[in-house]
Amino acid sequence: MIEDTQPPSIALSAHNLHVRRGRGKDAFSLGVDHLDLHAGEVLVILGPNGAGKSTLLRALAGLERSVAKDLIRGGDGPVTLVFQRPAALSGSAEMNVRAALLGKGIPEEVKRQRVTRALDRFDIQALASHDARTLSGGELRRLALARAFVLEPEVLLLDEPFDDLDAEGQRILSLDLQQAIEDTNVAVAMVTHDLRRALLLADRIAVLAPGRLAQHGLRDEVLLRPNTRDTARTVGMTNLASGRVCRQAGGVSWIQIEPGFEVPTTAALNPEQEAWIGIRPEHLKLDVGRGDGESIGKAVVESLISDGLATVATLRVHDRRFTTHLLSGRGLARRLRPGDPVSLAVRPDQVHALPA
């Protein structure tokens, strides 16, 4: 979505945001020192359950009673939040979208144009006269997005916008959403637990650990260089292991995970240093002699699970488990069976490593 090299303008900047709620055992607090939302960009907020993702969205929308909060706006356009379970007002779908413009002093003709455009944008024009309370979950989500976009928001906050949708519904809605974001240059912050969907839309990623912002940065920076093991798990870097630097040559450090299983990395490490490594499943290759990186050792196929498109292969190296993704129905994915021995390979620049 970012096409030029100009840094996008900041639509909303949060500083020293601290939310505190409840008492005793039920107490919850969230602290975020600094978080920016940029015009035309999607910030995806990831984190485990209870980390405070929805709370952060509500605080950004000004709906949380924060202990401290400093929200600096880039402009004066609306900031709106689409909830995880959108509420339908009684009346038609069109009335629901129109209701968002109540009391804003917009001329009737302009209102009509904006409502029509918003309904068209999310392909629900045919449902305009339907009772909003009879719409399906997917239709209601589209209605809620149309109701948000009719405001022509400067900042749009989305809480699990793809929840409860089937795979096809998610795909179509994410395409419509992507188009709407491009057309309107709105700054979006989106909470989702669907990592694949997040990766499709995200320009930036913020990872929450319980009660705090663990990492925040450009999409690939966070995906490929998570700052902790927990953050690595949250962003889908599932192959994690600890070891010690056993040799270094040509800017590459080799970390011994098990005897005969050494992983190369270009990360800056010292000789003999204890370190943990992280490899994304898509970067761990089965070594079939094509030169797909450096050979790192042998493994045994433990299981193969396919969803029809991708096959997730779980591989065992002594007591450790690693996963890799194969294209279903082709090549190795078709030939491999549990119990088969395989060789593994990685590119050193695709192995993330940090001192333990």
Partner: protein, 219 residues
């Protein structure tokens, strides 16, 4: 010229409608905003107030009449207003009977909305007075139930209005107090004709409100 009995019947029917209508209007004007406030806000004494409303919904009307009589009696705190044994005293007492019903049912209607309804409407940047309009629109079925319950409570009530109104002919006599009086005097025929008018009014109004409620549900 109308038959004197029929004339009396028309007179007390109109007075009944005036007293009941005024009390209903006052109960709605006071009860709906209080119900919305209690239903959509969180504050320390809210639980106590909700308990009081629930208790008020089941309070015996005769107790309300007693309290009204004490307050409005010449020697009572509001004695200087000279309202006892006037239609205004009956309106005040009927309002006191209907108010908890209106508050309680409005509160329940607001409570039946999604927990996040208000937040969702607020995040659309809709000004406060329009949000209240949307809320009233959203709970209109519950509000109609409140109107029906309050109307039934006021129209069918006799003890309290008798105590503060005194059932004075041409002044404070309404259908319920008249029925009670004629029954005690053994004039069952007159009592029956008045009861028929009272029941007819109740049926007509309740039917109209129910029709409104049901047609709203279909929309």
């Amino acid at each position: 010229m109308l038959d004197p009995e029929l004339q009396t019947l028309v007179e007390i029917t109109l007075r009944t409608l005036w007293v009941c209508g005024s009390a209903l209007l006052l109960a709605l004007l006071g009860g709906v905003p209080i119900g919305i406030l209690l239903g959509s806000s969180q504050f320390i004494s809210r639980g106590l107030l909700v308990s009081s409303v629930n208790a008020g919904m089941g309070a015996p009307p005769v107790v309300v009449g007693l309290i009204g009589s004490i307050l409005l009696a010449r020697s009572g705190p509001l004695g200087s207003w000279n309202l006892l044994y006037t239609p205004y005293a009956m309106i005040i007492t009927s309002t006191a009977i209907a108010l908890p019903l209106v508050i309680g049912l409005t509160l329940a209607a607001v409570g039946s909305l999604d927990d996040e309804w208000e937040l969702q409407v607020r995040t659309l940047g809709i000004p406060r007075h329009w949000r209240i309009w949307l809320l009233i629109r959203e709970i209109r079925m519950g509000l109609l139930a409140a109107v029906i319950a309050a109307l039934g409570g006021i129209l069918s009530e006799v003890g309290a209005v008798n105590m503060v109104g005194g059932n004075i002919a041409g002044e404070t006599r309404v259908l319920t107090t008249a029925i009670m009086m004629h029954t005690s005097m053994g004039e069952y025929e007159i009592a029956m004709s008045q009861a028929t008018v009272l029941f007819g009014n109740l049926l007509l109004l309740a039917g109209l409100l129910t029709w409104l409620q049901q047609s709203g549900r279909k929309r």
